[in-house]
């Protein structure tokens, strides 16, 4: 929906007043640090708690979700204005982070496929940041070939009985609920016997074991279902049509990763070429002293510019509504290239200082760059790997045959 400029100006004034009244000054420019990404032992102080509560009550943590289920009911343009106003005063939106996969993936999928009753039950707690979700898709023997998954859900009359193992479940140890793909019919071809189930993680049949990543952090787990249960009305979408539901969720995931939607983070980071100047120095012409590095940095900066322009072009062509579409495979791979190149260059720019792990001798921003470099390697693996995206583009967009490629 297009808003007139006058309407947007009025909304801007409303947002500004509301933010002035509700945003605690102590949180200015703190980003998400006060929430500690839900890690155990991080104390969330009163101001952070209060800010999350008022944002959640207003629905502005999930600004474009329907107001009747606790969202903000804003248009995309209004949401952008809200984001600008929050950035202006250094305010962050903690709700997407505390909901883990709730805001970026599960919520939009419930809004797409859920019954009215399911939406009423599951959406408002996500909007308030009270309930966190994880995604249980991958299994030890089913990664890219997800449709081969074998975790079973048996119909026990008044509940579903679930057995099997998931892996790489991000945030599973902190999550309250899991959006899981399970096999509900073993007699059918692999894609046709899968259902999407909403499973409570807070039950004795579910256990999780954290996996440590190369970046040192441990945000994901192995998840075991041993006679776990799901309620009959926690099947999302039709029985045995979970493959479509699950695919839609992945499209939402891609949309959230391609810069199509943002969640108001801290102040803008320093451009990479400015950081390079402080480490590498400049020559008499003001150019970066290492000309080979300079050439590679400018390529990355130009690739990033092309990516940003394309994100904008896609949004403009969709007339303000960022669609979930096949084009997102393109944008995911482009974002991956831009992001991973950036991270590699940052380490190279810093030289020895980019090779610290922890402790003395390295600044916080240096350690962060190193960890981001390692963590960023996952970008070409999760959410459909780089190769799988290329399969999708060649098959679904270009119409090339599926012969020696699957997925």
């Amino acid at each position: 929906m297009a808003d007139s400029n006058a309407d947007l100006d009025a909304f801007r004034a409303e947002a500004r007043t509301w933010l002035e009244d509700n945003f605690p000054a102590s949180l200015k420019d703190k980003g998400l640090a006060p929430w500690g990404a839900r890690q155990e032992g991080v104390h969330v102080d009163d101001d952070a708690r209060a800010w999350q509560a008022s944002l959640g009550a207003k629905g502005w943590g999930t600004p474009t979700w329907p107001a009747e289920y606790g969202g903000g009911g804003l248009t995309n343009q209004q949401a952008r204005v809200l984001q600008e106003e929050m950035a202006r005063i250094g305010a962050s939106n903690p709700i997407p982070a505390v909901a883990i996969m709730g805001v970026t993936m599960v919520g939009p999928t419930i809004l797409d496929y859920g019954t009215k009753e399911q939406k009423q039950r599951h959406i408002p707690p996500i909007c308030r940041g009270e309930i966190a979700w994880c995604i249980g898709y991958s299994e030890p023997n089913s990664g890219s070939d997800l449709a081969s998954l074998s975790t079973r859900a048996e119909d026990k009359g008044d509940y579903w009985l679930i057995n099997g193992q998931k892996v790489w479940t991000s945030g599973a140890n902190a999550a309250d609920w899991c959006g899981a793909l399970v096999r509900t019919d073993t007699s059918k071809p692999k894609r046709e016997g899968i259902s999407f189930m909403m499973v409570s993680m807070k039950q004795s049949g579910v256990t999780t074991r954290p996996i440590q990543l190369i970046s040192g952090s441990s945000p994901f787990c192995e998840t075991f279902f041993n006679d776990a249960r799901a309620e009959k009305n926690d099947l999302l979408g039709p029985l045995n049509e979970g493959w479509s539901v699950g695919k839609r969720l992945l499209q939402h995931e891609r949309a959230s990763q391609t810069g199509g939607r943002g969640s108001g983070s801290g102040p803008a980071p320093k451009p990479i070429h400015e950081i390079a100047k402080t480490y590498v120095g400049t020559d008499e012409q003001g150019r970066l002293a290492d000309l080979d590095l300079r050439g590679r940095i400018v390529e990355q900066v130009m690739a990033a510019a092309a990516h940003t322009l394309t994100t904008r072009r896609i949004a403009a062509e969709a007339k303000g509504n960022v669609q979930v579409s096949a084009a997102q495979s393109i944008m995911k791979n482009s974002a991956t290239i831009v992001g991973q190149l950036h991270a590699e260059l940052m380490i190279e720019i810093m030289g020895n200082q980019g090779l610290g792990w922890e402790g003395e001798g390295f600044s916080k921003s240096e350690i962060d760059a190193t960890r981001a470099w390692l963590g960023g390697k996952a970008q070409s693996i999760y959410g459909g790997s780089y190769e799988i995206q290329n399969n999708i583009i060649s098959k679904n967009i270009l119409g090339l045959p599926e012969t020696t490629q699957k997925g």
Partner: protein
């Protein structure tokens, strides 16, 4: 594709229909085989004039339609697709821009209507060495009487044999490499002392070397201020680069479409070759680049239309990115066609050759990466 106005869509459709029916690649091939000196066909040029393409960026007061550079880009994309040979780019975009940027009222009135009606073919005669170097101008202009005398040479002048008016950056003070001391002159091609030498280039288009021996230019043919031509020249070059980005996008897109078509029809080992993942993935990556490049091209043209502050940055981004994609795409065009791609009878070679010429014009990828970094301050 940018959200187009109704008028823009009409022009794009017209350009698509006209190029595919009246100016397909076959036309270009015949022209090449006929060894036409002007390197375009008079009827092609005449149709373009009649369709109003020569007035797209010219203000209405001087006989144009003032539809802007993004609109011009839509046409260039289509002529690029079909390798249509004509002075459209050199005269109606670059030549006309020189006058809208730097011309005084009298010069605009004198030249622009003639560019629009086709009686003047204007072109920029800038380069003096093998690599793009707008500040390397050495061609000497010395004051004599009321005007100037020009001595020196220009190389690789686009449509150099067909042009009737040359826009000549010349050195009025300082030395090659200095940005100040460059002045822009309008030199009718039939002026005494101007001699042209046809170049037979790899892409069979109309390039010439031009010598200037004691060429007298009256003061009223100075475009803009004496010694201060570098600023308007830069503006002019950015328009040329952005426009050429659109042409390159069209050329590369056609190469992409030809390749994709082949991947869907050619069979080996009992299967369509597009089913080989090694090829399918390269096609997917090329498609991704193609979409990224379109955004850069449209952004640069739009920046010119809106007189945006970051026009220089976007012109370099567009030229470099279009060059990178077209370079890779033209190589893959040959490779993915196998042996047939190597035959002159098939069109792939025409695209490869054209690609390298466009890539080199107005600064290659390396030039624009360096410039982009300088603009950003590193």
């Amino acid at each position: 594709m940018a959200a187009l106005t109704e008028e823009q869509s009409m022009i794009r459709d017209q350009a698509q229909n006209w190029t595919s029916s009246e100016s397909p690649v076959k036309k270009f091939r015949d022209m090449r085989d006929g060894n036409v000196e002007a390197a375009f066909l008079p009827e092609t040029w005449q149709s373009m004039i009649e369709m109003g393409w020569t007035g797209i960026i010219v203000p209405e007061a001087y006989g144009g339609s003032d539809l802007g550079y993004l609109t011009f880009g839509l046409i260039l994309e289509e002529t690029g697709r079909n390798l249509t040979a004509s002075p459209l780019f050199a005269s109606a975009l670059v030549g006309a821009s020189a006058f809208t940027i730097a011309g005084n009222e009298e010069q605009k009135q004198g030249w622009l209507p003639r560019i629009v009606d086709g009686s003047t073919i204007a072109t920029l005669a800038l380069e003096e060495g093998p690599r793009h170097g707008p500040e390397q101008v050495a061609l000497k202009a010395e004051k004599s009487g009321n005007g100037y005398t020009l001595n020196g040479s220009k190389t690789f002048v686009m449509e150099g044999m067909a042009a009737t008016a040359l826009i000549v950056p010349a050195r009025t003070s300082g030395k090659p490499g200095d940005q100040t001391g460059i002045t822009l002159f309008i030199v009718p091609a039939d002026t005494g002392g101007v001699s042209r030498h046809r170049l037979q280039t790899v892409d069979s288009r109309g390039f010439a070397n031009i010598d200037f021996a004691n060429v007298e230019v009256p003061a009223e043919n100075i475009l803009g201020e004496v010694d201060a031509g570098y600023g308007p020249l830069t503006q002019l070059l950015d328009r040329a680069r952005a426009g050429m980005g659109a042409e390159m996008l069209g050329t590369a897109n056609q190469a992409f479409d030809m390749t994709l078509e082949y991947l869907k029809t050619r069979k080996q080992f009992g299967q369509i070759i597009g089913g080989f993942q090694a090829l399918g993935h390269r096609a997917a990556q090329l498609f991704t680049k193609k979409e990224l490049v379109r955004s850069c091209v449209e952004a640069a043209l739009t920046a010119i239309d809106e007189d945006a502050d970051n026009t220089q940055e976007l012109a370099s981004l567009s030229k470099a990115k279009a060059g990178e994609f077209m370079h890779q795409m033209s190589n893959e065009l040959i490779q993915m066609h196998g042996g047939i791609g190597m035959t002159d009878e098939f069109d792939a070679g025409l695209y490869l050759k054209r690609a390298r010429v466009l890539e080199n014009a107005f600064g290659n990828q390396a030039y624009h990466r360096d410039r982009y970094a300088r603009i950003l301050g590193f």
